[in-house]
């Protein structure tokens, strides 16, 4: 069992994604009732995807604060502009 202790990098990726997401005018929370909402928000999925993408990069061997920072930035941009085009919401939702 491997436990990595580079919490700071994760927090950096998360923080940058959240800040840039708010700056790009993503909503903070999805609309109520939250479980049925399809809208992209800062908490979900931007925050989670930023941690996930950084985890993938760590696994591929790229660690460090610069990598974490760029991951956070790219995740926020991805969620704002690309996510809906990549996995569109179905028509009947």
């Amino acid at each position: 069992m491997i436990v990595h202790v580079n919490v700071l990098s994760y927090l950096l990726a998360l923080g940058l994604a959240v800040i840039l997401g708010l700056a790009l005018r993503l909503p903070l929370l999805p609309e109520r009732p939250m479980r049925y909402s399809w809208s992209i928000s800062v908490i979900f999925p931007t925050a989670i995807l930023s941690l996930g993408f950084y985890a993938m990069l760590v696994q591929l061997g790229y660690q460090g604060l610069m990598v974490a920072a760029s991951t956070g930035v790219i995740t926020a941009l991805f969620c704002k502009f690309l996510l809906e085009k990549l996995v569109p919401r179905p028509e009947d939702s």
Binding site: M1, I2, V3, H4, Y10, P33, M34, R35, Y36, S37, W38, F44, P45, I48, L49, L51, G52, F53, Y54, A55, M56, V58, Q59, V87, R89, P90, S93
Partner: protein
Amino acid sequence: MNEVLGIIIAAIICWFNFVLIDTWMGLPENPGVKGAEVIGRAVKKRGGSLAGGFFQGNIVCSPDASAGTLLASVGSYAIGIPEGGLIAATLVYFGNRLCADPGYAGTTGALSITLIIYLTSMVGMKPEFYIVGMVLAIITIQGLAHPTASRLLGKLAQKMGRHTKMT
């Protein structure tokens, strides 16, 4: 820790993890896709509860908290903590959106079990216990007696205010 004991404890933890999160996220309330409605009504015809049937149908048709729990355990075992759980949560999220589901249940289940695996690893539990435990937990819902399991899920859905309003 003894392996059999570990698997039993992990199965109980996984059962509560995915059943509570899925019920909270509304799986018994609505069939997410048409396929879940087919399965739900088929279970009801065999003497089960419609809400429980929708729950079971939604598990089949989309990665939900049960999938998130299994895949995060798989990731934690072979990739490590926390990378494995986070990678699993990301992949489950994309799988959800491809299955016409917003994605809350799957990722929440994956993240919560990753935290639980990390915390219980300090008292001797290993990720492989959670993998086998999750398979056992899903068998109790999808593999033993569907009407009985669906009635149990229906009662829980009622208690948590998530019972379906369809008939």
